[in-house]
């Protein structure tokens, strides 16, 4: 006997434990099966791109902290690179190295958060998240030591970085990067062979390499699908061409691959930081620029490999002290766009795990 069933709409969010911010999913479900998904964004819209047109180039740096608030260093870096390209500012070597160190520390912090929340979405009761918070906490302490802030660091400047790290920074960061490989090995032990995690994440939310490229996916999500594309290698900026590191590439493109790619990227980041610390040149940490920078009319686009993927900043100058147009290419928004294709036809738990594995930051989606 079959009984008639009719689909219903389940409203996930804007407040929900798994939407990582204020993001809303309207899910058409038949029992536990998902028939359609409607993604509603915009609950965190602060009109940053428009606000930026009213402020000078330097005043815009704190805005970039607040787009992707889990990776403010990378955002600072991307914007500063764009502004430098526009104004033709040279960056000292030491500043480039410091930028690499902080961007990679930020990547480790952000990936800790991403993997922790992913396991949380898979149902672990916060334990892996708390473990990964422990390491993130130490990195945030390093940020606080150097820039005075933990989350919205506002550290990079057009022409360099705001401060040279204090003397106590170096022993602390050395201790941390000596400790991190052990910690990552600990996560591997706890999670990688966990049958429940394997059952929950393997073959879930699969994106093929073709779909990933057609969908313009970036970052760990793209690399998990098997496309070897990382801007740090493909189009080195700052000083990345000086360092010896590998890019992890997944096989299937499922949630498990994304998790593993992030875990491996944390290891590679430790390698980069170690090399950058060893080869840190002396010299000034900043090029002095005029307070009200007035670049010649023109446009510039700079992209960096943020923790969530390719992060682009497009700045247009009309010769005035403020950008004429300011645009952020946010990796979270673009990675999210394929959620519907990944989740339709699966069940609700799979959709939640998939959403967790994409690693969105709503501040960046809505800007």
């Amino acid at each position: 006997m079959t009984t008639a069933s009719e689909p219903y709409v389940l409203n996930i969010g804007p407040q929900h434990p798994s939407t990582h911010g204020v993001f809303r999913l309207r899910v058409v479900m038949d029992g536990e099966r998902i028939q359609d998904i409607d993604m509603v964004v915009g609950y965190l819209h602060r009109s940053m791109e428009k606000l930026a047109e009213e402020r000078t180039y330097t005043q815009n740096i704190p805005f970039t902290d607040r787009t992707d608030y889990l990776a403010s260093m990378s955002n600072n870096l991307g914007y500063c690179l764009a502004a430098e390209r526009l104004a033709g500012v040279e960056v000292p070597d030491r500043a480039s190295y410091l930028r690499v160190i902080f961007a990679e520390l930020q990547r480790i912090a952000s990936h800790s958060m991403a993997n922790g929340t992913f396991i949380n979405d898979a149902g672990a009761w916060q334990t892996p998240l708390m473990y990964m918070f422990r390491e993130r906490e130490k990195i945030l302490d390093l940020f606080e030591m150097t820039s005075g802030a933990r989350l919205t660091t506002n550290y990079m400047r057009i022409g360099g970085v705001a401060f040279d790290p204090p003397a106590e920074f170096f022993p602390a960061v050395n201790a941390l990067i000596d400790e991190l490989p052990d910690r990552i090995a600990e996560y591997t032990e706890l999670l990688v062979d966990n049958e429940i995690l394997l059952a929950r994440s393997r073959g879930v939310g699969v994106v093929s390499a073709e779909d990933a490229i057609n969908g313009s996916l970036v970052g760990p999500v793209l690399r998990a699908s098997g496309v070897p594309w990382d801007l740090r290698k493909a189009e080195p900026y700052c000083a990345y061409e000086d360092f010896d590191f590998d890019i992890p590439v997944g096989h299937v493109g499922d949630c498990y691959d994304r998790f593993m790619v992030r875990l491996e990227e944390m290891r590679q980041s430790v390698r980069i930081i170690r090399q950058a610390l060893d080869g840190l040149p002396s010299g000034p940490h900043k090029t002095e620029i005029p307070l009200a920078l007035r670049p010649a009319p023109g446009e510039a686009y700079a992209r960096v490999e943020g923790p969530r993927g390719e992060l682009g900043f497009y700045v247009v100058s009309d010769g005035g002290p403020a950008p004429f147009r300011f645009h952020i290419r946010a990796p979270s928004l673009i990675n999210l766009s394929l959620l519907r294709e990944m989740a339709v036809g699966t069940s609700l738990p799979d959709a939640i795990v998939t959403l967790g594995s994409i690693d969105i930051v709503v501040g960046e989606i809505d800007r």
């Binding site: 219903y8 389940l10 409203n11 929900h16 434990p17 798994s18 536990e32 396991i119 949380n120 898979a122 149902g123 672990a124 009761w125 916060q126 334990t127 708390m130 473990y131 422990r134 130490k138 302490d141 606080e144 030591m145 106590e168 602390a172 201790a175 990688v192 062979d193 966990n194 429940i196 059952a199 929950r200 390499a209 490229i213 690399r223 998990a224 699908s225 098997g226 496309v227 070897p228 594309w229 990382d230 290698k233 493909a234 590998d246 890019i247 992890p248 590439v249 997944g250 096989h251 299937v252 691959d257 593993m260 790619v261 491996e264 069940s347 609700l348 738990p349 799979d350 939640i352 967790g356």
Partner: protein
């Protein structure tokens, strides 16, 4: 610039107790030891045995009280005996004492274990857990309870009001009833009926009804999903749970809980050691019935927020929370009774009060539950169903056959003592390992074939062509 304290290794200054504190503590310790020695002497001399003040078994005291009360009603007029029976007074009084005992035990345990669970989870998660309210945060549960009581309970507009009010109360009843037949000491059992196992199975499935009512009456999709999941899980996991208990009943030859414990005490053998597969099946099924990790699907926080009690607030939520915890302790008590030898501890129960031994076993089983909760992710509903129907039920059915065979051998083979049980223990353990591996492979589980694919490391970048090349490479 301030150096962050986080970067230092955690260094708490060593606390030295002053002699003024130390001396009374030492005296107290000596007095405690002396008291224990005195108690031991009294026990060895046998002066306690069978007297009402034998604190090792509170059942004896109640028994004496009953006899005393029966004496009081012995000379009642004939019409009273006709109407009420001969033992009405002793029955009422002892029933009330027992009920009061269970109520106060469950209440106390809930208050303490909320704290214990949170502290343990805190330790597992490299943080401290509640440590602000009272000494070591011990008063935190009271603070929580006060907060919950004074909170407004919201009722959603579309909810069925009567049905919405009922479940938090209803769900408490089975949560208390399950404690009745559990034996705490040889004579310390509130309801020592000869169908104890059946009673437990019947009572423990009652709470599902209340949960379904809660989910249905909330008029909320999350609540409904949670309720449906609960019912589905309950139906699936009641079967392996009952089969696991069937092995216990088969081997001990009794459904009476005190008999089951007595069997384990007589043979100096825990059933959990004798039949590990039954223990595993029972424990896993219980986590499914309890909604605890790894099977907390019915209230999967990351998916359906809080499941069936999404819409409940204030003390109504508090009741659900308390019952959930109480049921977890009850399951720990079942595990202790059926599989860990109940109040017996290889003769030590003569010295230590058996109820303390039993409480220790409950704590151990409960610790495992907390440990699992702090470690494991969650299954998906369909995976959990498949696990019940494809793995647990066939395996435990085969195991019941084996247990029956062993029982009949034991009946016919007249070797008393430890030899047959030892052989059976080894056989059962080997069988458990073999059947789990065999059955998983039979159903197509090949861990070595799908090798764990760590990401490939590369330094050459490219687009789709590179991706295809990498995919083609071995």
């Amino acid at each position: 610039m301030m150096r962050s304290a986080w970067l230092d290794p955690v260094r708490t200054p060593a606390r030295r107790l002053s002699p003024r504190v130390l001396a009374p503590l030492a005296v107290a310790l000596l007095a405690f030891v002396a008291l224990n020695v005195a108690i031991a002497v009294v026990i060895v001399s046998g002066r306690l045995d069978g007297h009402w003040y034998d604190f090792r078994d509170l059942g004896i005291a109640v028994q004496s009280l009953r006899e005393w009360l029966d004496d009081r009603t012995a000379d009642q007029p004939q019409w009273m005996s006709d109407a009420l029976g001969d033992h009405w007074l002793s029955y009422i009084v002892t029933a009330l004492i027992g009920a009061l005992g269970i109520l106060s035990f469950v209440g106390a345990v809930l208050l303490v274990l909320i704290w214990v669970e949170r502290r343990l989870i805190g330790r597992i998660q490299v943080r401290r857990g509640p440590n602000r309210v009272g000494p070591f945060g011990l008063l935190q549960p009271f603070a929580d309870a006060i907060k919950l009581i004074q909170k407004e309970t919201l009722i959603p507009r579309g909810a069925d009001r009567f049905m919405f009010y009922l479940p938090p109360v209803l769900v408490f009843i089975p949560g208390l009833l399950v404690w009745a037949p559990i034996p705490w000491a040889p004579q310390m059992s509130y309801l020592d009926i000869n169908v104890g196992v059946l009673y437990l199975i019947a009572i423990s499935s009652l709470s599902t009804l209340a949960i379904f009512m809660a989910g249905w009456s909330s008029n909320n999709h999350y609540a409904l999903l949670g309720a449906m999941r609960t019912v589905a899980m309950m139906i699936s996991y009641e079967i392996p749970l009952s089969i696991a208990l069937l092995s216990v009943v088969l081997f001990t030859g009794s459904m009476q809980l005190s008999e089951i414990v007595q069997w384990q005490a007589d043979h100096n053998m825990w059933l959990g050691v004798l039949m590990p597969l039954a223990l595993f099946t029972f424990f896993f099924s219980s986590t499914a019935e309890l909604n605890r990790t790894p099977n907390d699907i019915a209230e999967a926080e990351s998916e359906i927020v809080a499941g069936f009690h999404t819409e409940y607030s204030g003390m109504k939520f508090g009741l659900f929370y308390a019952v959930e915890l109480g049921n977890a302790v009850a399951v720990a008590a079942f595990v202790g009774t059926f599989f860990l030898g109940g109040w017996s501890l290889f003769g030590l129960e003569e010295w230590v009060p058996p109820y303390l031994v039993f409480a220790l076993k409950i704590s151990a089983a409960y610790f495992v539950l907390v440990w699992l909760r702090g470690t494991l992710p969650r299954f998906r509903l369909d995976q959990l169903m498949l696990f019940a129907w494809k793995y647990l039920i066939p395996i435990s059915l085969v195991q019941v056959l084996l247990i029956a065979l062993e029982k009949s051998i034991l009946e016919r083979w007249d070797v008393p003592g430890v030899l047959p049980l030892t052989i059976f223990t080894v056989v059962n353990a080997g069988f458990a390992v073999w059947i789990v591996r065999f059955w998983a492979r039979f159903l197509g589980y090949r861990p070595e074939r799908e090798s764990l694919l760590a990401p490939t490391l590369t330094t050459t970048m490219g687009g789709l062509q590179a991706a295809r090349r990498m995919r083609a490479a071995p």
